[in-house]
């Protein structure tokens, strides 16, 4: 690629060290901005269930209390939003994807891809390889507190090594599928995979 033109008169106010170590095009925030396509669903945990599916068949289904009783994982990770903010050292608690598989008696994933289905009809697609081996958690707590509805509560997927839209809010169903299919944002101009380190923001990146 050609070297980008220098912007006349542009001097970084930020010290280089502030963006050193961040994915390209990202900047640091200490806030936790909210982004979603529509209204935040009001979900009561008493009405809430989450399911793991293989195609059309059910592998497991949990109520809130049942889900809370599963083995819990706490992770501290950096998160990267496609709208360019990065937030460091965020602390999440929930059930790891690995543990979900274990709980339903699977020693390995039955298919190569997963579609995450959420309240409000949103979906996002992921390769299974990006969910296993400690890479993903179904998170129910942020910073030690129940996940706020605006941030995806009661439960959201957390796949921190990909752009944050892959960490789908208001998660209800994880469905294994044999072939990749684009989810909601992925069929609306956003990259199918979304690796922040390769700056895969949009179609064709």
């Amino acid at each position: 690629m050609d070297r980008p033109p220098v912007s006349r008169g542009f001097k970084s106010k930020r010290h280089r060290s502030e963006t050193a170590g961040l994915p390209p095009g990202q900047y640091l925030t200490t806030d936790f901005p909210v982004l979603s396509a529509g209204p935040t669903p009001a979900i009561r945990v008493t009405d809430w269930k989450i399911a793991l599916q293989l195609g059309g068949s059910l592998l497991g289904k949990w109520t809130w209390d049942e889900f809370e009783a599963l083995p819990q994982t706490t992770i501290t990770v950096d998160i990267h939003c496609v709208t360019k903010w990065t937030k460091l050292n965020t602390v999440w608690q929930g059930v790891s994807f690995d543990d979900l598989l274990k709980v339903v008696g699977l020693s390995e994933p039955p298919d190569a891809f997963v579609m995450a289905h959420c309240d409000g009809g949103y979906t996002t697609n992921l390769p299974v390889a990006d969910l296993v081996a400690g890479k993903a958690v179904v998170a129910t707590r942020y910073d030690g507190l129940p996940l706020a509805p605006a941030h995806g509560g009661p439960a959201r997927l957390l796949v921190p090594h990909l752009y944050f839209w892959k960490s789908a809010k208001w998660l209800r169903r994880l469905r294994f599928m044999p072939r990749d299919e684009p989810g909601f944002w992925e069929s609306r101009g956003y990259h199918n995979y979304g690796d922040p380190w390769r700056e895969q923001r949009y179609d064709g990146d």
Binding site: S7, W185, S187
Partner: protein, 253 residues
């Protein structure tokens, strides 16, 4: 959400260098940058571009800005609000000059979009500079199918903070299909006879069409604003799928 949300786009969105043709002061905190793209295949109202600044030491900063101009215009208008302590918006507002080159890519986004082929009614709700993508929709509507019923509910801190006041005023005058409602949240002129305070359910219900008319909502503004308006609309009985939101985060510089 419908299957027809997205016009297809197969090519990658490459960086290009546009030339700044004009800079218009809109309010004390807001300017519009009018840009001549090197190439442009058109856009949908509601889409945005990414701008990338490069310092001479190679440091780069990227931010997204909504397009305010309609697809009918050759030049792109980006309306930019100052973010205190931001690193891109202060440059765009204070440093950028007519004739400068500006690196950008777009158009981006295929969800928060509308054009005349989708028909109406449309109800647009703007908080502050959240008016920008909605203005592209209104400008496009005016130039294509002004008979599509539309309403704009525009919440601003004060009259002086209303962007595009004159143009909106002219647009609404004589257009019986466009309803224009302002509410001022902090300061108002002594002779102001419009609404005051935050957008509430009554204001929304009175200016947003009926459920039977099946309006599509486009809400754009700060996160808290969008959150509150969209919950009110759901409470009023509108289908959440018809409520499209775009949140301008507090850190979007």
């Amino acid at each position: 959400m419908t299957a027809t949300d997205a016009p297809l786009q197969q090519h990658s969105i490459d960086w290009q260098t546009g030339r700044v043709q004009a800079i218009v002061t809109e309010t004390s905190r807001v300017k519009s940058i009018i840009l001549q793209p090197a190439r442009w295949s058109g856009h949908w109202p509601g889409q945005h571009v990414d701008i990338r600044l490069t310092a001479d030491d190679g440091y780069q900063a990227e931010r997204s800005y909504s397009i305010a101009s309609p697809p009918e215009e050759q030049l792109l208008t980006l309306t930019v609000e100052r973010v205190e302590d931001g690193e891109v918006s202060p440059y765009l507002l204070d440093e950028l000059r007519v004739g400068d080159a500006l690196e950008f890519r777009g158009p981006i986004g295929r969800y928060f979009i509308w054009n005349q082929t989708r028909g109406g009614p449309i109800c647009l709700v703007a908080g502050g500079t959240g008016i920008t993508p909605l203005m592209a929709m209104l400008r496009h509507r005016k130039m294509s199918r002004p008979n599509i019923p539309a309403s704009l509910i525009y919440s601003a801190r004060s009259l002086a903070d209303v962007v595009y006041w004159d143009e909106l005023d002219t647009m609404a005058r004589g257009d019986l299909n466009l309803r224009l409602v302002y509410t001022l949240t902090r300061e108002h002129p002594s002779d102001w006879n419009g609404h005051l305070g935050r957008v509430n359910e009554v204001l929304l219900a009175e200016n947003s069409f009926t459920r039977e008319q099946n309006p599509t909502f486009f809400i754009c503004g700060p996160a808290g604003f969008v959150e509150s308006i969209s919950s009110m609309l759901v409470k009023l009985g509108f289908d959440p799928f018809t409520v499209k939101t775009e949140r301008f985060g507090p850190t979007g510089a």
